[in-house]
């Protein structure tokens, strides 16, 4: 079974794709660039959604839903945003099909059903939402508005990869409206912290929090904050962004409020989002050549129990114990599957659940019952232990916590080992080519240098880390003075 996965040392990109497809997470569809999210992948996404949704609600946000389509005239209202997304917009131009007079049973677009104004399939919803907020906001009493939306969006990407970059993807987009600049900036940073917390404590993925350079900013934002994660191949992955939008959308859509002092002011805005791209980050952070590894807190099934027996009598004996263990674990809110199918052999099942990343496998063997023991196997480090049946509940409960911790600790260690400070351009290129990973280097602060470095090395400034220490130095590229190191990497 595990031979279906191309080893990552052989072809990292193929390894990733193999896991996505073979672990039943997602697959390509017959629509260019769009994926089918398969049940196992969707179940993990649901766990992510639940955790994030609770975090959003705990920080005072509510959910709502806005239209899929944006009339072109609204879409182009905030010029920078429109310009940034124009090249990747799917456009609805007609609202009816009719039978093809020349070919029986076929349909054609009805030319008489052309829309007066084209509709853009949302690549992001600032335009339609701020056009709506205009009707919701009159005075300071209506602020803040703290709304989140779970939705699909479409960005017509030319080169797509399952989860990492697809034409349609699922995401959440928060859109908040505030009376003051300070409050909006506080919100922007708060949601960045929520994302960082989610990645670290749920996905077991450590991140660097920072702010983007002007070049890498979201189109229409005054500032884009981001979290950057490091994948096993040493490439960075932008895992979430939180934008301080200033008054750009309020001005584009004329959204003003009356202050306590009875003055008219433009409203301040933020938006923030994470997407099914997080699935890519999850897969590339923990998986190995046997398949997916899911952190326990996001595993739809945390424990699988597999029986080993001979004959019906044996199955009966083993099942009694297995079902008892299952029941006790479920009482502790641990999700358990007992796989007693007789159509597959134990070895096949072992490989199958390793491939799918189930954190813990319990084997209940007919022979072990004499000693009152079961075998417990960890998916993360592939070790096995024999334990007393009576200890199962406590042992498994603790082990789930231990695995979650261990995955994070390993990912942190990898990030640490793959983070390098460099002081010369030679060193910079050498590290990128040979060691890979995060590279901290001095930069003169100009877009020109940033652009040159990108052209020559394919590395971009991932972010200027928050709370970055001041350090006097010289730009590795231009030799001009610099006050801080910024984070460079090649990225997804």
């Amino acid at each position: 079974m595990s031979e279906v996965i191309t080893p990552k040392e052989q072809d990292y990109s193929k390894w990733y794709n193999d896991i996505v497809v073979e672990a039943d997470l997602a697959d390509h569809s017959s629509v260019r660039g769009c994926m089918v999210i398969k049940p196992h992948g969707y179940a993990i996404w649901e766990k992510m959604q639940q955790a994030l949704d609770k975090m959003f609600k705990d920080t005072g946000h509510v959910n709502a839903y806005f239209p899929l389509f944006i009339p072109k005239s609204l879409f182009e209202a905030e010029e920078k945003n429109a310009e940034g997304f124009a090249k990747e917009c799917a456009v609805v131009t007609h609202y009816r099909l009719k039978t093809n007079p020349n070919e029986k049973g076929k349909l054609i677009v009805d030319p008489e059903a052309k829309l007066e104004e084209e509709l853009i399939v949302r690549p992001t919803s600032e335009a339609i939402i701020w056009n709506t907020y205009k009707g919701w906001i009159e005075s300071y009493r209506d602020l803040p508005i703290l709304v989140n939306q779970w939705a699909n969006v479409v960005r017509w990407e030319m080169r797509t990869r399952l989860f990492l970059r697809t034409a349609e993807f699922l995401w959440q987009e928060g859109h908040t409206a505030h009376a003051t600049k300070e409050e909006a900036i506080t919100e922007t940073k708060q949601m960045l912290d929520v994302y960082a917390n989610f990645l670290e404590n749920w996905m077991a993925v450590p991140v660097v929090k920072g702010v983007k350079t002007a070049n890498e900013r979201f189109a229409g934002a005054d500032d884009t904050y981001c979290i950057e994660a490091l994948m096993q191949d040493g490439k960075a992955l932008q895992a979430g962004t939180s934008h301080f939008l200033g008054q750009n959308f309020a001005k584009a859509f004329d959204v003003k409020y009356v202050t306590k002092e009875n003055k008219q002011e433009y409203v301040w805005a933020t938006s923030w989002g994470v997407s099914t791209r997080l699935m890519g980050a999850l897969i590339m952070s923990h998986s190995d050549n046997k398949g997916l590894v899911i952190p326990p807190k996001l595993a739809p099934t945390q424990v699988v129990i597999i029986p080993i027996y001979k004959g019906d009598e044996g199955l009966k004996k083993v099942s009694e114990v297995a079902n008892e263990i299952k029941k006790k674990l479920q009482e502790k809110n641990i999700s358990v599957k007992y796989d007693d199918r007789d159509s597959q052999r134990p070895g096949w099942k072992f490989a199958e659940y390793e491939l799918k990343g189930i954190p813990i496998r319990i084997t209940v063997g007919e022979r072990d019952l004499a000693n009152n023991t079961i075998e417990v196997a960890r998916r993360d480090n592939l070790t096995k232990t024999t334990i007393q049946i009576n200890d199962a509940e406590t042992y498994i409960e603790n082990l789930l916590v231990e695995i979650q911790k261990s995955l994070l600790a390993n990912a942190k260690l990898r990030m640490q080992n793959l983070t390098t400070n460099v002081d010369t351009y030679e060193e910079f290129k050498n590290v990128l080519d040979n060691k890979t990973g995060f590279v901290y280097a001095h930069w003169d602060g100009t877009p020109e240098t940033e652009e040159k470095i990108k052209e020559e090395t394919k590395a971009t400034i991932r972010c200027i880390p928050l709370n970055n220490p001041e350090e006097i130095g010289v730009c590795v590229y231009s030799g001009k003075p610099s006050k801080q190191r910024v984070l460079f990497a090649r990225s997804y």
Copy 2:
């Protein structure tokens, strides 16, 4: 506050729209026929989703996600389905915008970015899903496939009404694949039962279960089962459908499986769905001229506590009691909001929460504290009671159950009162025009008669009820013999 709602006796349609808008459930957007689902409305929809999702999972289904777009060639593969939806399809023809050379800051569709094959925005997903299932199904071991999808769909309706009929709406669509006809029919009926159960026990809306006539069948189905609910104005509302699709989609997409006997057979299919239309059913079932009435099991906030006091000292005293009650209710998993805003007066708050349909209002008054009492008001029948503070938990817990029951009982009584057996066409028309409601009448079983009756009276056959008693009679329209009465009504 309550004057914002047009009384239903005056203008039922306006009454409905007023509630939707004023209770912050939804609003029209600047996209033709598309609505914005506002936070309060979306929170109720989330409660519906959670309950339904659990019911789907309890019956063995898993969630997945399929593309928003369907290439035209796939869309037209199942001819009846394609023909049924062709007239209401939004079509994506281009994938890029560019700056308008003639008008600064404006965008136009880039004519060079025309798609080779147009993409249909899904009006329903059978086509894309069965094209995918083709790759998932080889043998009987791969069956059944029991998948559900939560998604947005688009049907270009000419006349739209918030929640009831919108161009874009949210729904779930189950798509299952089975080895045998019997199994598929069992699934179709099971999901109809799930829907009926949800409407009755969560929404407090009684329904008639039945099967559609050929005229009213889903395009591409062999049989469409449905649940029909009765609104306060005596009109029927189709609240959910479950389709037995036969082998139509399997044949259109060539989906075969190898049987245990090693033969190739086409797969059998079902699909079933409910949508944000259920919000319309909920609103029109229970609301009154003061606003929305939400059944407790679907209320995002079940209890609101409002303080009545004078000065800071008074608020402090009252808040102590209110917070204690809130805490105790929350421990019983009752969702409670304590509204101690000093920006609004109690009377305003009373009207506000009546408008929004919160099932129970507790008033904690400074003067009542001397007697250790609080006032409890029911939203459903607008009655008030004074109870001892110590009894609050038990009283409220029981009252929520009581309100849920009472709403259902009232809706059942209304349905009973508005259900009439008629034996002549005169009576038929008379009941429709004056009494309104569900009308059981004999029908000769022909599409021609069905069509004529629809033309002349605007009433359609809502369904042939399941377990319909045999009864010899004559068709009210044609006088031809009939073996059973069928359910007629005017409908949404």
